[in-house]
């Protein structure tokens, strides 16, 4: 079972990774956007790690605590979408002490759908949604969920690299975006690597 203790240590790993990756993410976002994704993820993960010190025992409420910490720290597109997704997952996990690996796919689907509604975007648009979708699919019945998630994120990032951006700031430079990773997909790959410890 994945418990709040696991969530807490994942939060600390996330913070360490995002401190290290902030420049990389800023640069990736700066290629076609405003170059703030590293700042978003650094301050967001710092806030989550700080909140992790005293999360409630209820797994759903703990996820909600993470979402609220993220919201306060960062309100860029990405921060807002992640918080939206976390809240959707939190709702499903509410009242439970922990979740089983088998629940993960469903939680991700809930998050993905809520994020689509919030950002008014479709799948296939070369955004973080596509990474989440790929992970949700890969997790469904996976033997080694951590490995499956990381591979799915990496593969999605690669599969979309040569597509055109359709959403957010990068959309304006859709032609130039061909061959460049979507910064939000890149960030999600790094997030998954960090939280799984792979």
């Amino acid at each position: 079972m994945i418990t709040v203790a696991d969530l807490r240590s994942a939060a600390f790993r996330l913070k360490t990774a995002m401190e290290a990756e902030a420049d990389t993410l800023n640069t990736a976002d700066g290629a076609l956007g405003d170059g703030d994704l590293g700042i978003t993820m650094r301050s967001g993960s710092r806030a989550i790690a700080a909140a992790a010190e005293d999360l409630p025992e209820d797994f759903g409420m703990a996820l909600m605590g993470c979402a609220q910490a993220l919201t306060k720290a960062s309100s860029s597109s990405y921060g807002t979408l992640l918080a939206t997704g976390l809240m959707a997952a939190a709702k499903q996990a509410k009242g439970r002490e922990g979740i089983e690996p088998g629940d993960l796919s469903g939680l991700l689907v809930a998050a993905r759908d809520k994020m689509m509604a919030r950002g008014k975007a479709e799948l296939g648009g070369k955004t973080v949604l596509d990474t989440l979708d790929a992970i949700a699919t890969a997790l469904d019945g996976a033997q080694d969920p951590a490995a499956a998630a990381v591979t799915a994120a990496e593969d999605a990032q690669e599969a979309f690299r040569d597509k055109r951006a359709t959403i957010g700031r990068a959309r304006i430079f859709a032609d130039k975006s061909v061959g460049l990773d979507d910064p939000g997909m890149l960030a999600m790959t790094k997030i998954v690597q960090a939280v799984t410890g792979r």
Partner: protein, 333 residues
């Protein structure tokens, strides 16, 4: 591109503290975590509220334009980052005088998502809200996708005109209609010569050669249309006017206001050099220039560059544009 600051994390809160300390007759800091600037003296009871929000680093946009005949309240995020939905909700509440609130702001993903969430939050308070988005940057999408464009300095016209309409007593639907008409009437384009530094990032938003410029660049350093050797002022102004006039019909006898805006470091001297061409082009098109604005109305901290905004007027918009307003950054008598 050198900055005078303390802890980068404190940049925005210290800016707001100084803003309100210097102008206590105009501004009041409010909201749960002090990220909402509201009028020191609220608008009169029953006036439609106008609220804006966005990232810091653009003074006088956004918070500076809180004032009589302008905004009622404004939520402000970190530099170039949206404020949170909670902060926006606080700003909506501060702007409400019982007749509903117009959300008037620039088209950026983070701001839109959070203002949508904020709207959900204040529904519980029974505050009616409407939304008008500025999407005036012609360099950011072709006319067919005009609604996807970035919002830039055109915002200033929208604040002024919608603010005057609210002051004149129009109801929420009326103020919203006037604001939307203004948004539809504005076209902007910007050019950047050197970047600015976001305090929390600690390095410039983009790199550019000592002899280069970029046409169509966004106010956060988003890429533009082309990058090339620095051109003479008149050539730059001509191309900017070409791009604007290609995007909006200006006919003989039209009345147009214009904003020649410094992104920060570019001095007034150079804005006036550019203004010569703006005036010549509008005159050549047969247009009458109304109340031209030349100065620093919407900046990106210490970025070097300029933007031009055209705002095509009808009698209603012109009346509100030239009506009185009062904030420490802009007085119309």
């Amino acid at each position: 591109m050198k900055k005078i600051l303390n802890d980068p994390e404190a940049y925005v809160d210290e800016t707001l503290a100084g803003l309100c300390a210097a102008h206590p007759e105009s501004y009041r800091l409010t909201g749960d975590d002090g990220r909402v600037v509201a009028r020191a003296t609220p608008g009169k009871d029953g006036k439609v509220g106008i609220v804006s929000a966005g990232g810091s680093g653009h003074l006088p946009v956004f918070t500076g334009y809180v004032g009589t005949g302008l905004l009622d309240a404004c939520a402000i995020g970190n530099v170039f980052a949206s404020p949170s939905a909670d902060q926006m909700a606080d700003a909506i509440r501060a702007a409400d005088q019982g007749s509903g609130v117009l959300r008037l702001y620039g088209n950026y993903g983070g701001d839109v998502m959070n203002f949508d969430m904020a709207g959900d939050l204040v529904e519980m308070d029974d505050i009616e809200t409407t939304t008008v988005l500025l999407a005036d940057d012609v360099a950011s999408a072709p006319p067919e996708e005009a609604e996807k464009r970035r919002g830039v300095a055109g915002m200033v016209f929208a604040f002024k005109i919608a603010g005057a309409a609210a002051e004149a007593g129009l109801d929420l639907a009326g103020v919203t209609r006037v604001a939307q008409k203004t948004a539809d009437a504005c076209r902007s384009v910007g050019v950047a010569l050197s970047p600015c530094t976001v305090p929390q990032a600690g390095k410039p938003t983009f790199e550019i050669g000592e002899d280069e410029m970029e046409m169509g660049m966004g106010i956060h350093g988003e890429p533009g249309v082309w990058r090339d050797k620095l051109r003479p002022a008149d050539a730059i102004a001509e191309e900017m006017m070409d791009r604007l006039l290609a995007d909006i019909d200006i006919a003989q006898g039209d009345r147009v206001s214009v904003l020649v805006n410094s992104l920060g470091a570019t001095p007034h001297e150079e804005l006036f050099i550019l203004y010569r061409i703006v005036e010549a082009r509008l005159q050549a098109a047969g247009a009458q220039i109304v109340m031209p604005l030349v100065g620093r109305y919407a900046t990106s901290m210490e970025m070097t560059g300029v933007s031009f905004t055209l705002c095509k007027l009808d009698a209603e918009l012109e009346g509100y544009l030239t009506a009185p307003c009062d904030c420490p950054f802009w007085i119309v008598k």
